[in-house]
């Protein structure tokens, strides 16, 4: 691995690192999709993971999110080894992911998509069978109010009662982003949030991400648009053939021969 910044030296992570990924390896049928990936995500900034198709970015996101088991290596979140935790346990700690393909709950309304994401809901406990609505009504109203606040912020209020499955591709992306925010995350893994979105909406999503990071949210962004990465991300890790080949700012990486060879040209 070629390191361009002090913060990216393997296994010597800064105290401000919220997420540390160490020497991850994962194969599919003998082909190593991830082959010793090591990088970290600093608190309060957007870190981007870029690389050509097939570099292993989505597999890394899958491993960090808990959907994919690594063959070796570890994932450390807030100083705690979470490699063996299930996705829902990671979400409970504040590590929430979105998906490359639309993952909205199709037959739930937009507002329900947001409300369902709120953590620790009393009405989801099995004892709700015995106590009924009175045990969760007040909390539900608080959650709905918060979800409506987000809809207002993202200018989606008028869509609140529509089925999420009927929205356009870009609107579904927004719903997924709002839904992740409803889960009260500390770190959001965004897997190509602007893929297939029209340029106007993509710029708006970019604006929202800037606002959110200014509010203290940390993000790991997988993105193909290098201009977007340059505008949004303080730190970038470049993957090729399952390995992190360089880290640094986008300006630094544009001059890096291995990156140019693996990604910008190839």
């Amino acid at each position: 691995m070629t390191s361009l910044s002090a913060a990216a030296v393997p296994l010597e992570h800064a105290p401000a690192d919220l997420l540390i990924v160490e020497d991850l390896r994962r194969d599919f049928g003998g082909v190593w999709a991830v082959d010793g990936a090591t990088f970290s995500v600093r608190q309060g900034v957007i870190t981007s993971l870029i690389g050509p198709n097939g570099a292993g970015k989505s597999t890394v996101v899958g491993i960090v999110g808990g959907a994919t088991r690594p063959a070796s290596g570890r994932v450390v979140f807030e100083g705690r080894d979470i490699t063996g935790l299930a996705p829902h346990e990671r979400a409970a700690l504040g590590l929430v992911r979105t998906y490359q393909l639309s993952s909205e709950f199709k037959k739930l309304t937009v507002l329900e998509n947001l409300v369902v994401a709120a953590p620790a809901q009393r009405g989801e406990r099995f004892r709700t069978l015995l106590y009924g609505k009175r045990s969760w009504r007040t909390q539900e109203e608080e959650i709905v109010a918060r979800a409506r606040g987000l809809l207002e912020r993202f200018s989606m209020t008028e869509k609140q009662d529509e089925y999420a499955g009927t929205l356009s591709g870009g609107q579904k992306r927004l719903v997924e982003l709002m839904r992740a925010l409803m889960a009260e995350p500390k770190l959001v893994l965004l897997d190509e949030p602007m893929a297939g979105v029209n340029p106007t909406l993509a710029r708006s999503i970019e604006g929202y991400l800037t606002e959110l990071v200014a509010e203290g949210l940390t993000m790991l962004l997988v993105e193909h648009e290098l201009d977007v990465v340059e505008r949004l991300c303080e730190s970038v890790a470049v993957m090729a053939q399952g390995k992190i080949i360089a880290t640094g700012t986008m300006a630094e990486l544009r001059k890096h021969p291995e990156v140019i060879n693996a990604y910008l040209v190839g």
């Binding site: 309060g44 998906y99 029209n198």
Partner: protein, 352 residues
């Protein structure tokens, strides 16, 4: 109303109650949680057998012409509640094996195999529930205590079935109308995304699988105590498809829709074929009935997939307004980002 019509009507109403319970049971699993339980009828059957062997008394009774396990004479309503408990317990075991690793089509195939294996086991292990002949002469609840005429008892059983149906509905409604039901529907729509948002989807599915199959057990108990007999021929795997078709026709995921489905498919459709004049060789109408039920399900899935009464769109009261003021929790190091409303550029994109 003549005696015969009254008798027929009361019988139909009991069947309707049992079918409504059946449809709610499977709808919770398939319609709400997206579990493909093609072994559903096996859980109804285990409920029926449980209620039977807890009511019949020792197998040496009645001349010892049938063999079965346990052979108790428990008072009403213990056998019915026990039927639900045993079906639920069995569902827990099956669920722990099938729901943790398998999804959708694989789950469906395993369930179908479980259903077939269960029929084969009960048919071939004679000492369990009297093999292919099944158990019979099951006493009806409170019959000797109430001392009613046969018709009077029929109507008592209608009330009994209605009471159980109402009792079960309270709990079914509490699930489907609560955040628990919403989490289950989210799991149905996209399990990975639900997990990524913190939902323990295996636990959720296991819960609804156990609860739904406990209802199946109760429906089996009510049915067997009404008809007095139960054999492997009563619960072939295709019976699950009848209930599934009723759900698809009535409206998947809608409690009232599936009630309507229960009226239309297992009750009205089955009864209507009784009045057809005999055509072709004996048994042809029965065979055609299965084909038509299959076509009915496919037709609805193709042309009317949401059913006659579609799943209800949940709207929240407009009085619950968005919070006023600035976004909360700005710059909270290592704290949860509770992002609220703040000024931003409008981004509304037209729906295509």
């Amino acid at each position: 109303m003549s005696h015969a019509v009254s008798f027929y009507l009361s019988t139909i109403l009991v069947y309707l109650g049992v079918d409504i319970l059946s449809c709610w049971s499977l709808n919770l699993q398939y319609g709400v949680a997206g579990i493909y339980n093609f072994a559903w009828v096996a859980f109804q059957a285990i409920g029926a057998y449980t209620a039977g062997v807890l009511t019949l008394g020792p197998s040496s009774g009645n001349g010892g012409f049938q063999q079965y396990i346990i052979g108790a004479s428990l008072p009403f309503p213990v056998p019915i509640l026990a039927a639900g408990a045993v079906s639920g317990a069995l569902a827990l075991v099956v669920g722990l094996v099938t729901l943790r690793r398998l999804r959708t089509d694989y789950q469906a195939m395993v369930m179908l195999v479980i259903s077939v294996i269960a029929t084969l086991v009960v048919t071939n292990v004679i000492g369990l529930f009297n093999g292919p002949a099944g158990i019979s002469l099951i006493p009806q609840p409170l019959e000797s205590t109430l001392n009613l005429s046969p018709l009077g008892y029929q109507w008592f059983y209608v009330l009994l079935t209605a009471a159980f149906t109402a009792f079960v509905y309270v709990f079914v409604h509490r699930i489907t109308s609560s955040p628990l039901g919403r989490a289950l529907r989210a799991t149905r729509d996209h399990e990975d995304a639900a997990q990524a948002l913190g939902k323990d989807t295996v636990k959720l599915k296991l819960f609804v699988f156990v609860f739904g199959n406990a209802i199946a057990g109760i429906s089996g108990a009510l049915l067997v105590m009404f008809i007095g007999a139960w054999s492997p021929g009563s619960w072939m795997y295709v019976e699950t498809l009848v209930v599934l078709t009723a759900i698809i026709v009535g409206g998947t995921g809608n409690d009232f829709g599936v009630m309507l489905g229960a009226m239309l498919v297992p009750v009205a459709f089955n009864e209507a074929t009784r009045f057809l004049p005999p055509i072709g060789r004996p048994g042809l109408i029965d065979a055609l009935q299965w084909i038509v039920i299959g076509l009915l399900g496919l037709g609805f899935l193709w042309f009317w997939p949401r059913g006659i009464v579609p799943e209800r769109r949940r709207r929240f009261p407009s009085r619950i307004a968005a919070p006023l003021g600035p976004p909360v929790d700005r710059r909270r190091p290592l704290g949860r980002a509770r992002v609220g409303a703040s000024a931003s550029s409008p981004i509304a994109e037209p729906t295509p």
